[in-house]
């Protein structure tokens, strides 16, 4: 290799590192902006959270009632274990909040996308960074709520160190899987504006087959097999059960690998769909 060739290669490597550094910088900045912004809207954020906590509390009460009626447990869950499941659920749900697919219509109609397209990075990075920052606010606001819920419902929770470690990674895996999936779903808005029914169908499938409604162990067998080949359970059921259940180490680590698989598949999906979707975009003025 000639000296010039080596020099060229060196320059490219430096360029790649600089790009990566810029991306990290972008993420850190977005995270800082999100934290500053969302802390201002504490009341709105709390309203949202309390509304969100109603959902698992309802499931928890219903299934605890069933468990008590069945002599103390149903499907291997006691009321205390249901309490642990649904309290951890509230954190996982918070981690699962991503840019809503309904937001795409607004983004396209208002021409907000035009500005995003002018920037030198893929727009998904802005969403990933911003919502990741929001998570820190959500977690801080969530802590007192979790404490209150724990005092009210007495969860049985005995995680070991590996459970906690896997959980800490899995909630971010869940965040990424859901982000890319809903990005793909949201991009349907480039083709049609009547996206509501499609989203609702998707959300319902997720509700039933993710462990959001009820631990998957309580679902009929056919539903469990269906859930095994879909991405949904890796965004709800798996992170929760990593902490709450007693999954063996190979299932814990295997679960993380499955999350990675769905993230990669989703990222490829975003790349492919985005390429076609953005060609359909046109904006006037702004």
């Amino acid at each position: 290799m000639t000296a010039a060739g080596r020099e060229q290669e060196r320059r490219e490597a430096v360029g790649r590192i600089a790009l990566l550094g810029a991306l990290v910088d972008l993420y850190l900045t977005e995270i800082r902006i999100a934290i500053a912004e969302q802390f201002q809207y504490r009341v709105a954020n709390y309203f949202y959270m309390v509304g969100m906590i109603a959902e698992p509390v309802i499931y928890l009460v219903v299934w605890s009632t069933v468990a008590e009626q069945q002599g103390g447990s149903v499907g291997g869950f006691t009321p205390g274990q249901f309490a642990a499941y649904y309290i951890v659920w509230t954190l996982v749900r918070n981690m699962n909040i991503i840019f809503t697919p309904y937001g795409w219509e607004w983004r396209i109609r208002q021409g907000e996308l035009s500005g995003m397209l002018l920037r030198p990075v893929h727009p998904i990075h802005w969403d990933l960074g911003y919502f990741a920052g929001w998570k820190f606010v959500a977690i801080v606001l969530w802590l007192p709520l979790a404490l209150i819920l724990a005092m009210l419902f007495r969860p049985e929770l005995e995680p070991d160190l590996l459970d906690v470690a896997v959980f800490a990674i899995a909630i971010w895996g869940a965040y990424l899987i859901r982000s890319v999936n809903y990005w793909i779903l949201g991009m349907v808005s480039f083709w049609t504006t009547r996206v509501g029914p499609l989203f609702e169908l998707f959300l319902t499938a997720e509700l039933l087959l993710s462990g959001r409604l009820v631990p998957l162990a309580l679902m009929p067998d056919w539903a469990q097999s269906l859930a095994n080949v879909l991405p949904f359970k890796w965004t709800f059921g798996f992170p929760i059960e990593a902490l709450v259940g007693d999954l063996p180490a190979d299932q814990l680590l295997g679960g993380l690998l499955m999350q990675l698989l769905w993230i990669v598949l989703g990222a490829i999906g975003v790349r492919v769909v985005w390429r076609f979707a953005v060609r359909r975009y046109s904006a006037v003025g702004n």
Binding site: G51, L152, P197
Partner: protein, 273 residues
């Protein structure tokens, strides 16, 4: 503010007439978007199938829930869907618009009209396609009643209708009290989600909840009065005392809401929209 303007002659049915006018205009407006009907039908169907699936799932693990059979819970679900439809047809759109108007300062336009501001703010908006849920809920209710033994006489039907009307007015009060909060806290746009989340608790009889939650869901957020009590009327559980309590509470709440609304209104400074 609105009251200091030239008052129209007293006319007791004026609010109803106003509501009818707004209903006509709103309906004509919405009738232009007929595909929305199909969309709404589809969404109601998804919600219904999900609700039935959850009910089936619960009853695949147990034969009764706190003394309520599957058919009785189906009746509760029917009432819940009907009431949800009523809320989203009339109450919620008005309150969301009011919230937005207060935030933007466009509430000025309501106050400059020579009618009661509370009435105007409560009847301006209508979403007729959401009424699909009222019909869906009624069908669910009819199916549930056909599965239940024991017939429904005119007395039960009347008590049910009365309890439902009381429940709806209490939900209206609850929404208006919270919306009035917009006079102090400007950004309240998560309120609909908050309510929607809590409203889901009404899908189950309020008796299954632990004491503190049961009391909150009765007096703080009157979902027990809005769903469980009317459903009790249809399943032979409603006592005259409960109905009387509901009537008394509704009346008190309406009066408090009126007072609180005026109190909040005095805080409004407008923004010259």
């Amino acid at each position: 503010m609105g009251d200091s303007m030239a008052r129209p002659p007293r006319e007791p049915l004026r609010p109803a007439r106003l509501a009818a006018v707004f209903f006509r205009v709103g309906a004509m407006n919405e009738l232009q978007y007929r595909v929305n009907f199909v969309v709404q039908l589809f969404q109601s169907a998804i919600a219904l199938v999900t609700g039935l699936a959850v009910l089936a799932l619960v009853f695949s693990h147990t034969s009764e829930l706190n003394g309520w059979s599957q058919a009785e819970l189906l009746a509760i679900m029917g009432v819940h869907i009907v009431m949800g439809g009523l809320i989203r047809t009339t109450i919620q759109p008005n309150m969301l618009r009011l919230m937005e108007d207060i935030r933007q300062g466009t509430f000025d336009f309501v106050l400059t009209k020579p009618d009661d501001a509370q009435v105007l703010a409560s009847v301006r908006e209508i979403r007729i396609w959401q009424a699909v849920d009222v019909i869906v809920g009624a069908v669910v209710l009819a199916v549930a009643l056909s599965q239940l033994s024991g017939s429904i006489g005119p007395g039960e039907a009347l008590a049910f209708g009365f309890a439902l009307a009381l429940g709806a007015s209490m939900i209206y009060c609850f929404w208006l009290i919270l919306t009035t909060g917009a006079f102090w806290i400007v950004r309240m746009d998560q309120l609909a989600e908050l309510f929607e989340g809590i409203y889901q608790s009404g899908r189950w009889p309020v008796t299954i909840y632990p004491g503190w939650l049961r009391i909150s869901l009765t007096y703080l957020v009157p979902i027990a009065f809005a769903v469980t009590v009317p459903a009790e009327g249809l399943t032979g559980r409603l006592t005259p005392e409960t109905l009387l309590l509901a009537a008394g509470f509704a009346l008190g709440l309406l009066m408090f809401t009126r007072w609180f609304w005026r109190f909040g209104l005095s805080r409004y400074s407008g923004a010259s929209a």
